[in-house]
Amino acid sequence: MSQRESETGETAGTGKLSSWPLFVALGLAVGEVGVVMAVYPLAIGGLVLFAGSVAGILTESGYAERPWRALTALSGLFVLLGLVVVWTQTGTELSTVQSALASTDTVVLRGFSITGAGVVSFAAGLAGSSITETGRAA
């Protein structure tokens, strides 16, 4: 059926697909719900999915040659953001941050979940760049 459009050569309506937009949206939605409602698994999973899909979509559309650097940058951002959230409750001193690890304060835990998402994405970025030789997105 789709030859019909390539025949006209005008509309180029074929081959226009990408699996990333769905997951960018889903990652953002799940991550947002997880962070605000303090459901940490959703927060981490959603943000990791979001970071991965953004890296994927940037690569696919040619803005990045390989996804790993974008993934690493985003993970850095998450780590920092999460730490800022934690610092709002603990101050920036290392010892208080460390003792906050045992905290049950939901704001602190939300902060750590964002940081956690950053750490997971960072690991994924490292693993990805060392495993794939071509560096092409999965």
Partner: protein
Amino acid sequence: MAGEQLALTVLMGVFLVGVVSLVSRMENLRAYAPLTSGDAGYGDSAATGHKPSGLLRWLTTVDHKDIGILYGVYATVAFVWGGLAVMLMRVELTTPALDVLGSTGVYNGLLTSHGITMLFLFGTPIIAAFSNYFIPLLIGADDMAFPRINGIAFWLLPPAALLIWAGFFLDPLTGGTVEAAQTSWVMYAPLSAEQANQGVDLMLLGLHLSGISATLGAINFIVTIFTERSPDVNWANLDIFSWTILTQSALILFAFPLLGSAIIMLLLDRNFQTAFFAVNGGSPILWQHLFWFFGHPEVYILVLPPMGLVSWILPKFSGRKLFGYKFVIYSTLAIGVLSFGVWAHHMFSTGIDPRIRASFMAVSLAIAIPSAVKTFNWIATMWNGNIRLTAPMLFCIGFVANFVIGGITGVFLAAIPIDLVLHDTYYVVGHFHWIVMGMIAFAAFGAIYYWFPIVTGKMYQKRLAKMHFWLSEIGVVITFFAMLLLGYLGMPRRYATYEFNGLIAPLSQVTTLHQVATLGAFIILFAQIIWVFNLVQSYLEGPVVETEDPWDLKETGQYSREFEWFAEQLDSTDDDAPALAADGRGEPSDD
């Protein structure tokens, strides 16, 4: 608790693995397609790939036409949800006492869901359906400037709807600890800040996502209209629908991020002990200012593109060009600018400074002028024209008529002394329903009928479409006139019951008018059932459109670009497969 979290973590892990495997499958599918550089390069030459079939195609498409169809289906589902919610409310209101719904809380939940669903999940998406499908065709672009961002904007909406409706689903599951939000669509503090119900948080998150979606879409349209026009389309001959979408996108760009920020502030107030909208903090009036600074532009975000649709379609069946094309555009731009200077007309009775109030009254009255310019231009277009009363045209005429009443009641409300009497009565509800139902929905119906042949390759049942129009118009008049009268009698809005004593309002007349409004609502419901039936039946079995000019536009020299595109589609196919099916769907044609 820890067990739940663990289970969720495992589920999340399984889900992510699923995503990775699905994505790698997709990548194999498209592995032979060249990797183009830059988003805009999509349409270039990659016309070698196949669209996958079935569900996978719809989940992965970034084709503007497919995304337009997705928006349309999504908006229709939302319309059904919002419509059923309001039918329950209308049934409850046939008697003064609480006889049907069991609790006022249920009524409040339905009210909130109806308003938010219709404005954010039906109104904006149904407009996006037309703009996605047709703007690229009308301006001669291959696709939107950023096809993938287009996909993201759409896919944010289904999660948004699930979150906005979540309270209803979670209520039975959680034994009533999480229930539907009861904040009304304006979410006024302190009520919205203090309702402990988590359904409110979920709704706010959903709204936030829908705002991100609208903003992404707006950026995409602005860039598309500025940079993707074909060389022969310039600002002087850019079609009127694209002009209204351009203006709408600018309004979205200024209004929606503000709503998003206000929602975040409200979420912080609710969950993190901030005091933006607390009585002893930033004050509840701050919420009203922020909300209406977004909220009034939002009503024009919703009405300008329908005005563009009518300005586009109405001349086709009047046999004449749009009267005063330039002035219709100027009035669009004027409304766009003025709409940011009227928000406090929603707050006349809150005790704000009377001098500020008066200036908002002046600007609100002024905005009626460009609105009236449009009305007179539409009437002048039809004047002495060769009018053909097809279903799209009927909806356009109904649109203009309903705007006269909806607009003028708005002008009344913009006068402070009148508003102090009518504020928070059914008069306000009547006013904006003449506009949102009588105009926005009507323009959408008209445009759906007008472009039905292009999108589906089939023709709808004309007689059913006309029945749809007449029943809708009659229903609108009955329902919303009754509401205006209820307002004059002093019936307050947002009440599930009205067992007040006769000193407040004459109870028997109020009851009768409520029953009349409910009757009208059932007529509207019946009309929409005909509409859905007609669309589905005609899409499946309707007669195939073989002419490239199903509306005989060539006779009056009004044959336009989107039908030229349709003609190319017809030419390039040797069978009679409808456009939608042929567009990669892989369905066999009817033979």
